[in-house]
Symmetry: C2
């Protein structure tokens, strides 16, 4: 695999034709933004380009699209992936079709596993959209309002609206440039949609979650356990449980937040989140799982009480003195 | 009153001595950040300076202070206010002592009511701390880590972490500069503390609020009514009700969010918030109140049902077709 710099990447894009742009499954603001912004850049250079995803773009992100999603009406002469850290993340169908045929992978995940012929990786960028803001300056194109919506949304969603530590000076500056060039974009509305608004179902679920918050280890560890019994009793939609892993962290004083979800009787899927200093990747590794420093997971079997005991012991040992 | 530009303001600050810096009552991240950053700038220039507030700095903001709060051990030879839009907002005690003695008012509130001998007002700045980032460049000082914490926190809190539309390119750029100069500041931790963390009491209150959410006008208006009966029954701490005015807005589809709080039997204090396009200032004015385009209030008397009917009629009339 070749590692390219941004200039080499831009030069290759100027020469490419008929591009399929692949984004990852469970698409988020950053891969959708990067995919559709890049497609628009290629269109402006007179090329055919289409974004492909293993599943439909979720409603909440459809405002980023220039129109209806449609299948490409041309065969690819090149394949580009954006924000896809591993070919597994293309999803089964796209992976089967293109997993070994990606010409260029553009990504910001430091954990990126090589699978393309060439790669542009900036592991310090907050978002792939941040990379595309730089890339745009090297292409013979003019950034459009639709691109600005895509690029801003990608950077905002991957940083929790510039809240997380991955936000770097260049992220702020790229957002400043977009806001200066396109003051008419409704950034506040985008942020509200992405960060503030909740469905009634989600609010009802949060009520239940608050009832189930448990504080352990002098309040440093906050845990939520969702057993099969609770899931059934309150008719919780499994899809709505996505994204609750961070919920316990919002309790004041929490250093490690844990959610336990009983997938089948006696088998728990654990998500662990660190507020700051505790390495939950190491803790989850000690329990047969793994992940990132601040966001990891593992699977454990036993009764609710047994699994909690194992977890709390491991967290206590993994906390700095 | 003289209107100064930033250079005139800087020149005056270079010449001033023994400054009292006044901030507003119910102090927030921006006035505390601006006050303590300015004090530190004056200290660096070899001057005496002290920050005065009508009440103690709340615990959640004490990380911004260089040490314990203490009464100044010198008499003022000049008085500066920062982020104080009206001398009324100094609070009774400070207003009585200094309301007519302010030499320089530095502010970003477009609604600023003149009360000082001279004023530097930038109504487009997202925060007074954003103004101080510019000011620092005109003073013979070096920005310190403590100033960076103050200035960043002020900008972040006044913009909802760069979420609101008051965030302008210059806000992003000022944040970028601070992050570049002081990568060691724990911005992510500050953001977590300011935006993510909640007390258990607040979470319990949110459970109750979710139960009391009512949707009206095809879901475009979401309302919460806290009667005396509810407040008593659930032993709600009145102080915890501060800041719930925005709660109804988080419900998907809401354009106007209303909170009704029964202050005494049959007398309601109303807060009204707009998600985007509806001018709630005009609606509240029609009911004898007022405020800003997106955040206003009024007081109404009657039974819960009567007050709701008045409110919903006014909101329906105030919504664009």
């Amino acid at each position: 695999m070749q590692e390219w710099n941004l200039k080499e990447t831009a030069d290759w894009l100027k020469a490419c034709e008929d591009a399929y742009i692949l984004i990852h499954q469970n698409p988020d603001g950053d891969c959708i933004g990067a995919g559709y912004a890049l497609a628009e850049m290629l269109h402006q250079m007179g090329k055919r380009a289409a974004v492909l995803c293993n599943e439909p773009i979720p409603n909440r992100y459809r405002f980023m699209l220039p129109g209806e999603e449609k299948a490409p009406d041309f065969a690819p002469r090149c394949v580009i992936s954006v924000d896809v850290a591993d070919s597994k993340l293309l999803g089964d169908e796209l992976r089967a079709r293109f997993g070994n045929a990606v010409d260029l992978c553009m990504d910001h995940h430091i954990s990126n596993v090589p699978y393309a012929a060439a790669r542009y990786l900036d592991g310090q960028a907050a978002a792939t959209c941040e990379i595309l803001c730089e890339l745009a300056k090297l292409l013979p194109i003019t950034v459009t309002e639709q691109m600005a919506v895509c690029l801003y949304t990608g950077m905002a969603t991957d940083t929790g609206c510039f809240q997380y530590d991955n936000t770097r000076p260049a992220t702020f500056r790229a957002a400043a440039d977009l806001k200066e060039q396109f003051p008419e974009v409704r950034y506040g509305q985008i942020n509200r949609k992405m960060f503030a608004v909740k469905s009634f179902g989600r609010l009802r679920l949060e009520q239940l979650l608050i009832d189930r918050l448990e504080q352990h280890l002098d309040g440093k560890c906050t845990l939520i356990c969702m057993t099969q019994e609770v899931l059934k009793k309150f008719q919780v939609d499994e899809a709505e449980l996505d994204g609750i892993a961070g919920f316990p962290l919002q309790v004041d004083g929490t250093e490690v937040g844990i959610t336990m979800k009983e997938k089948e009787p006696g088998k728990f899927r654990i998500s662990m989140r660190s507020a700051d200093e505790v390495n939950v990747s190491a803790i989850c590794q000690s329990l047969g799982g793994g992940g990132h420093f601040k966001a990891s997971g593992c699977s454990l079997s036993g009764t609710e009480a047994e699994v909690k005991e194992i977890l709390l012991k491991a967290v206590a040992e993994g906390m700095p003195m």
